[in-house]
Symmetry: C2
Subunit: 435 residues, 2 copies
């Protein structure tokens, strides 16, 4: 990449040190300390498609924003939200065509026996509710999650989020992420299932009992683990044999991210409960729990769920517009095509640069392991340098838990072949400076 800006040289559009300190001081006062995405923090002022812009008009290629999944400020989604908000926005205790039509369409996108929907205000609320469903249906409390997972910010979902580095209660057991390096690709499925079986047995021996296996079906926070397709089959069987449900957390993987509409489809499994979040409304706060009709009836009979904003007509309008755009712009297919270019390009870079030890992912979700070229050990510092160097070169990437040596890429699904090439050129240049 010509004109690459090396580490340590500020981009021309950054705030001065004094200006920045002033902004941080004011922000700290009212909002406390922020874990900013970049150092120094970015101040985007406008978004459009796959780009963010700062106040100087500098354009950044956004390789990390999975919430505006169909593109920043997508005009159709914005129009749908604005039109419905101007017309009607009520709670869900009234008949409403927008809500009913969205529910029918969304649920219709899932395989049987998934058949019922409850809408929430966030993916956290969706996972929180999914846990209640699993505990209600099984009469047991114990949950199994992967060791780097994050499933939400409510108290109950933080409890099943080892990636937040909080102590876990006894009824939450962790298994390692399904890293082919631990077991080999061929044996990964049975190895991962064995881990589920072990932990379920421990939970079933204690008073808690085993209620559910909760997995992000693309393991985004663990570092992205999507291959080989189908490796989840045995783990899901193991969970059911131990009397638990399989909850697929599709907050990261859902709505086309992996090149299929749902992350679990890649594995040919049908979850008992599916949770939806972020990309569902392209930034409008909405989440959902899709479950079997009998589980929904059970929940309603026991503890009817009501949310003042969940299931509002505006949430439904936002969700419907997102589905419309995904279809009209063929974004699932684009995620597959652009994702394939990205995958091939990343693999090429991995061959050229020993800094890159592994590239994993599907569709437009990738984890890139950054290591010391000398020892091959995970190198979180290099990953941090890489994302800040990328940012200085107007490319935005992120990091995945747990040890932060894994770059995470998940651009809006509308990214083009040219934009993928732009990223690869920039990343190549950054890797050259790190080598």
């Amino acid at each position: 990449m010509s004109g690459l800006i090396p580490p340590g040289v500020p981009s021309p559009t950054e705030l001065s040190d004094a200006e920045l300190e002033q902004r941080l001081e004011a922000r700290r006062k009212w909002l406390g300390e922020t874990a900013f995405a970049y150092d120094p923090p970015l101040e985007p002022v406008r978004g459009d498609g796959v780009y963010l812009y700062d106040s100087a008009g500098q354009r950044y290629l956004d390789m990390h924003s999975n919430v505006p999944s169909v593109g920043h400020g997508h005009p159709e989604v914005v129009s749908a939200i604005a039109a419905q908000a101007a017309t009607l926005n009520t709670h869900s205790r009234h008949l409403n065509n927008a809500v009913e039509a969205y529910a029918a369409r969304l649920v219709g996108l899932f395989p049987a026996p998934l058949g019922g929907l409850i809408m929430t205000c966030s993916g956290s609320e969706a996972n929180d509710l999914a846990l209640r469903v699993a505990r209600l249906v099984t009469g047991r409390q114990g949950i199994i999650v992967t060791s780097g997972a994050r499933h939400g910010s409510t108290a109950m979902t933080a409890e099943i989020s080892p990636g937040l580095n909080q102590p876990l209660p006894a009824h939450v057991r962790t298994i390692p992420a399904p890293n082919p390096r631990l077991a080999g690709a061929d044996a990964l499925g049975s190895w991962f299932a064995a881990r589920v079986r072990e932990e379920a047995a421990i939970l079933n021996k204690t008073g808690a009992g085993f209620a559910a296996l909760v997995l992000d079906s693309a393991f985004a926070f663990d570092g992205v683990f999507t291959d080989p397709p189908g490796f989840l089959v045995e783990a899901v069987e193991a969970a059911r044999q131990a009397g638990g449900l399989f909850i697929a957390d599709e907050v990261q993987a859902g709505f086309g991210r992996t090149g299929e509409l749902w992350g679990f489809s890649r594995h040919g499994v049908v979850p008992d409960v599916v949770t939806l979040g972020k990309p569902m409304g392209n930034g409008y706060p909405v989440g959902g729990v899709v479950m079997r009709a009998e589980h929904l009836a059970r929940l309603n009979a026991s503890a009817p769920y009501f949310s003042g904003c969940g299931g509002s007509p505006v949430a439904a309008a936002a969700g419907m517009a997102v589905l419309d755009v995904i279809e009209a712009e063929k974004l699932v297919r684009n995620a597959g095509r652009s994702g394939e270019l990205l995958r091939k390009g990343l693999r090429r870079l991995a061959k050229s640069f020993p800094r890159v030890a592994a590239v994993r992912g599907a569709g437009l979700l990738f984890g890139v392991d950054m290591v010391s070229p000398k020892t091959g050990a995970p190198d979180p510092e290099a990953a941090g340098q890489a994302i800040n160097a990328l940012r200085r070169n107007f490319i935005l990437a992120g990091r995945a838990a747990p040890t932060s040596h894994i770059l995470q890429l998940r651009p809006p699904l509308s990214i083009s072949a040219e934009q993928v090439a732009q990223f690869l050129e920039g990343f190549s240049g950054v890797l050259a400076t790190l080598a």
Copy 2:
């Protein structure tokens, strides 16, 4: 009211029985059973100010929608949401003027030592986080709530919501709502404080310990208890003496509802934590936790909170527009003035109709006890008949927990003197048919 439509006669704009059954069948299929606000359910298609409209163009005076607190489809709020959504909507790990300016303005509306804000996607998430703060700060787990309270729909907030009629865990203790009939107005404060002291002592004797007293400062779900002003002082002191925090849940009472900006102001108390929800974004899903700066620092140091949608620029824009409208339209003052007309009118009706045993409330939040005129016993059936008869006369009211004999009134804060008179005339007519 001339032309009053008696119970049993359908309004001309209702769906036919067959059409209704078809709609319900489809809705049931995808969304499960709905606890509709009215029987038969209403299908509003448009909202404007204090009115909702059905598909036949029939106008309903909305005396119950507290979410669109500054009015249905308020154009300034809708414009602010649309403009910001079209411009930029990101997570909160970037610098953002809209978010920082809103935080500064909102926190500035609270008395010291309240000084820090975390934004969430809903009031449920706000209360969920407030519980974590209280438990973190006190090192104890036990919570005291009133017996009809509802504080949210997450697992943790449902646990402190006896109004949902779920079994409560041992570390959640209930006290009766502060009904002056139980203790007399003069002794209410000390009587209520004694209840707090008793339950805190029980929690402190057990392993759980007493972490927080959580109160909706207007007790909306308990049936609305706002008087006499100041009665909360002793209870808050009792909570602090027992080592717990006082969390004011302002999801119902906040943003002008009681004729003051915050419900707790009526009592001259300063909470340790304040939670915000529904009216904060006039229907845009947003919530917030306002707390002492040192508690925010403590939370950040222990378990940094992050929400993909909480604290987004669009949430901030919606919140800012709501504050602008409240100021520009002097809605807090209007809540006081129109509320006073409503209060006087309701008291007059109570004198004329023995069906109405009590009228409680402040600003634009009222609870109206419906009883049997013969025995004086609570009459939930009459309350149900009243809200459905009001609805047939194009007035929308609601019911409060716990025994559902209490009508709940909480119209948008922009309601005029004429609209209050329209309601009182309609309610008078309905009471005449029930008498």
